[in-house]
Amino acid sequence: MNSFTPISSLIGGALIGLSAVWLMASSGRIAGISGILGGMFSPSSDKDDKTWRFVFLFGLIAVPLLMVLIRPDLDIVRFKLTGWPLIIAGAFVGVGTQFGRGCTSGHGICGNARLSKRSIIATLTFMVAGILTVFVAKYIGLYL
């Protein structure tokens, strides 16, 4: 059972927004994680392109690691689905974000901030799909 955490949510969200604005201001890039990751494996991506993607993802992984080392109380991770079924969930996220060209960050934040019609439709779609999936998963007892 999780409690409502308005302050940390607002601060965390603002940081995500700042990162998105910074990446656009500095490099002219959309801060969409599935796109940045997918582009690393695109044959049309040259060395320069791969470098900034890799370094962005390195920062995305390294900074939270540093933070939980300094403040172990930030390390709150509770899985509701565990073990190998997560491979399937991961594959849905992987394939879905490549077909749909974006995820919660690329469509949900950057695209919606540009008032892109595609992003607004995509966001509504994955929200509804996520809510229905949780409803069904709870109903059939899939979660811990």
Partner: protein
Amino acid sequence: MKRALAAFVGGGVFGAGLLISQMTNPSKVIGFLDFFGHWDPSLALVMASALLVTFIGYRFVLGKPEPLLDTEFHLPEAKDVDGRLIGGAAMFGIGWGLSGLCPGPALASATFAGTDITYFLLGMIGSIILFRFLNRT
């Protein structure tokens, strides 16, 4: 070099935001998607806050002729809503709901979320590599 440094700062601040807002906690995310149960609205505030900052920031940034370290803004060119967009977003939503993870938080918690995150990342990154390989032109 400058561009790499800018990307590192961007990724780092993004990761810090995900951790602080607890989007790296799958049960917190599922609590938000559990709209018909014990709904936890926290994630709505994360999105609203991120969206507001980005919306205002983009107004200034995209009004400039070019970014600081590049010659052009790399914005998506696709405009049409098609089956790939809706089908892909629906698929993503199903995986998101099942696991409580989307790509950013999954990577941000890669080093401290145990074997379960390894399973998820295996499925996510493996399928992305396969997708890009099959769709190479």
